[in-house]
């Protein structure tokens, strides 16, 4: 019977799931994904996480507990750094240590993924994980190459404007890309950590709602990493959070795009990097005169309140596009 490896549907799942899945499957393991986020999953996580950690980490606790009993191993790497001289976030660094304390969970694959000193250091992590399944180095290397290929394909799909859920569906079913829907009049940039905006439970399906309300949604993932990086390098000092840098670069890039009508920043309550990047983005948006909405999510956020704010925001954006707001401003 193949070893069952559980992957929590949380945090960087939205970036690396195709890669992880392919890697483990190539090595002969069976990959089990935790169930989609629900109130039940979150409540379970809230029981065991300290109050101060942010919503996505609390949700991760829930997803790990959801996997308990269903799998032999849980893949929960210590994501220290996925790119040279950058970090993810202190909570990612301590995540395996926070999770390990939970009773009744299967052993963790808590390999250190640390490319802080050199991008090639990833090989160490690959080898370490691969050895759990096979001693054939060539097989490990092959699995890694194949998973990398899938990863690149996934990111190309994201750059086409697909949301992670859609891109995953395309990868899974091996169907041809559906033609993208006709662009709407309003284009809104949704800036936030991938695990906040792409989890329909956490974000209260913000992407779907915006689309229903008649807006195109573009996120930081729709932008090639290089472009985001070059825009982010305009800052006086390089941001040392990979995700923060991507969000910052995307925000700066989108703010200069003439077809952008508004920007929404989504942050989890108490998120450290967001408190800094959000402030910089908001200040920049204000100077550029871009309509800006800042949403803070936590486990208490009421859905109705968010919908009202989204509707009001889109109303404001369309009024501004119709010239009404400008007219009032110039007449007063």
């Amino acid at each position: 019977m193949p070893v069952k490896v559980g992957i929590p549907r949380a945090l960087l799942y939205y970036y690396y799931y195709p890669l992880w899945r392919t890697f483990f499957e190539e090595l002969g393991a069976e990959v089990v994904l935790s169930s989609p986020s629900t109130k039940g999953v979150l409540t379970e996580g809230l029981k065991y996480a300290v109050d101060e950690v942010c919503l996505p980490v609390k949700l991760t606790f829930g997803h790990v507990l959801d996997l308990a009993g269903k799998v032999d191993l849980i893949f929960l790497p210590r994501l220290i750094s996925v790119k040279k001289a950058e970090y993810i976030c202190p909570k990612f660094l301590g995540l395996p240590d926070m999770i390990r304390r939970l009773a009744g969970i299967p052993p963790l694959i808590d390999v250190n993924i640390d490319r802080y000193k050199s991008n090639n250091d990833i090989c160490l992590a690959v080898k370490e994980v691969g050895r759990l399944f096979t001693h054939n180095h060539f097989k490990i290397w092959l699995a890694y190459r194949r998973s990398l290929k899938v990863h690149r394909r996934y990111f190309r799909l994201l750059e086409l404007g697909l949301m992670p859920a859609e891109a995953l569906a395309v990868l899974k079913d091996r169907v041809k890309n559906e033609p993208l829907p006709e662009p709407e009049k309003i284009t809104v940039a949704l800036i936030g950590h991938p695990y906040n905006i792409h989890d329909p439970y956490v974000s209260m399906n913000i992407i779907g709602r915006l689309r229903t309300l008649g807006a195109n949604v573009i996120t930081a993932e729709c932008l090639p990493e290089k472009t985001a990086g070059s825009y982010a390098s305009r800052l006086p000092k390089k941001l040392f959070w990979t995700l923060g840098q991507r969000m910052m670069g995307a925000a700066l890039y989108y703010l200069e795009r003439p077809d952008l009508s508004g920007m929404i920043h989504v942050a989890a309550f108490g998120c450290g990097p967001d408190s800094m990047t959000g402030e910089l983005i908001e200040r920049r948006a204000r100077t550029m005169g871009m309509p800006f909405l800042s949403l803070t999510l936590d486990e208490h956020t009421g859905e109705a309140g968010v919908i009202t704010r989204l509707e009001a925001f889109l109303d404001m954006v369309s009024w501004k596009m119709a010239g009404t707001v400008g007219a009032i401003k110039s007449s007063s």
């Binding site: 950690v53 976030c89 909570k91 240590d97 006086p236 408190s275």
Partner: protein
């Protein structure tokens, strides 16, 4: 150039000494106060941590006093502190405070990176003079830390309440006023004398508590609502895990000055609870908690600012450490809304608990 810097406990004493030796004009911001905090939280990002807000308040208040240049430390993550200067600069610019920033980043490869920035500050003064100034400032930091240690020891044992604090302030003033090496040596003797004069009763039974946590909230008494003083008043001997000179030695001098307790031991003690550094002092918090628990302290208090990422990781793990070693712990999270009275109540309850447990333990062992 009129230089100012953020407050962090008694940091201003050494920085002032350093700049004055260099002949750079210094504007010491007014001590952290309610006003500093409300200025900072008004203009700072809502979810930024308390030190950022207090520092911002310091800069605004120093600007009002005529400062035009800010000197502060930087960092390279993953803690937010590394990006403080850039955020504060953006905020101050929007506020119309024309302050120039000189950020001393910890040298990534070699110490020269730091020295270049210092040269920018010092202008045409010779390297010899700069090194002397650095040494002088560092010496003051070590003396101040020594005085703080003595104060922590004598506060719970003082015979006349408040006498330690009076002596402490007097001793700090002496160190602060010394303007040359000779005067500093004299001031050191005098300060030691003053601190020794505090009438203490060493036969008194005191509870020993180790304080761990984030460096700013540990060092700046205003930000921890005078935690150490309150604990001292309750008859608790406090041992603090982080001191200014130790931090400077480790992060700015790369451990150049030997013979000081380094964070290395603390970090290795954190295994197996926290197996990797998490930025800031998260791993040191766990490591020091283990060390305090091993050396028989009665309790551990963790202090950190609201939303501090590394300390949240430590907070999640601290219960395990304390359960394994059978010590009690208490966590204080500081933000602009924290009330002093609430904290004192919790401290009183905590010390009562510790005292009773200690009594029971002694009754059993005797």
């Amino acid at each position: 150039m009129r230089v100012t810097f953020p407050h962090m406990g008694n940091l201003h004493i050494s920085l002032k000494a350093m700049f004055q030796t260099l002949g750079v004009e210094v504007v010491v911001p007014p001590p952290c106060s309610k006003r500093t905090l409300s200025l900072g939280s008004k203009h700072g990002p809502e979810f930024a941590c308390l030190p950022l807000k207090l520092n911002l308040g310091n800069f605004i208040e120093a600007y009002e006093l005529g400062a035009d240049t800010v000197v502060m430390a930087g960092g390279c993550g993953p803690c937010r502190f590394g990006y403080y200067a850039q955020i504060q600069q953006a905020i101050l610019k929007d506020l119309g405070c024309a302050l120039q920033f000189i950020v001393l980043e910890p040298p990534q490869r070699q110490i020269t990176e730091l020295l270049v920035k210092i040269k920018q500050l010092a202008g045409s003064r010779s390297w010899w003079k700069i090194i002397q100034a650095l040494r002088f400032g560092y010496r003051k930091a070590r003396l101040v830390d020594e005085i703080e240690r003595v104060a922590l020891r004598s506060r719970p044992r003082e015979k006349i309440p408040g006498s330690t604090d009076a002596a402490y302030r007097q001793a700090l003033d002496l160190i602060d006023c010394a303007s040359s090496w000779e005067k500093l040596t004299a001031a050191q003797e005098k300060a030691k004398e003053i601190m020794d004069k505090v009438a203490v009763d060493f036969s008194r039974q005191v509870i020993k508590v180790g304080v761990v946590g984030e460096i700013y909230t540990l060092l700046e008494p205003f930000s921890n609502l005078y935690l150490e003083r309150h604990l001292g008043g309750l008859g608790v001997e406090v041992h603090r895990s982080i001191y200014l000179s130790g931090w400077v030695n480790e992060h700015l001098f790369h451990g150049l000055a030997k013979g000081m307790g380094s964070g290395k031991e603390a970090r290795s003690a954190s295994y197996p609870y926290l197996r990797h550094f998490v930025g800031g002092h998260g791993q040191e918090t766990i490591g020091n908690a283990v060390r305090y628990a091993r050396s028989g302290y009665d309790g551990i208090i963790q202090v950190f600012p609201f939303t501090c990422m590394p300390e949240i990781v430590a907070e999640s793990i601290l219960p395990d450490v304390c359960k394994d070693f059978g010590v009690h712990y208490l966590t204080f999270i500081m933000d602009e809304n924290t009330g002093e009275a609430g904290m004192v109540t919790r401290l009183e309850a905590f010390t009562d608990l510790l005292a009773r447990k200690k009594e029971a333990k002694e009754a059993l062992s005797s």
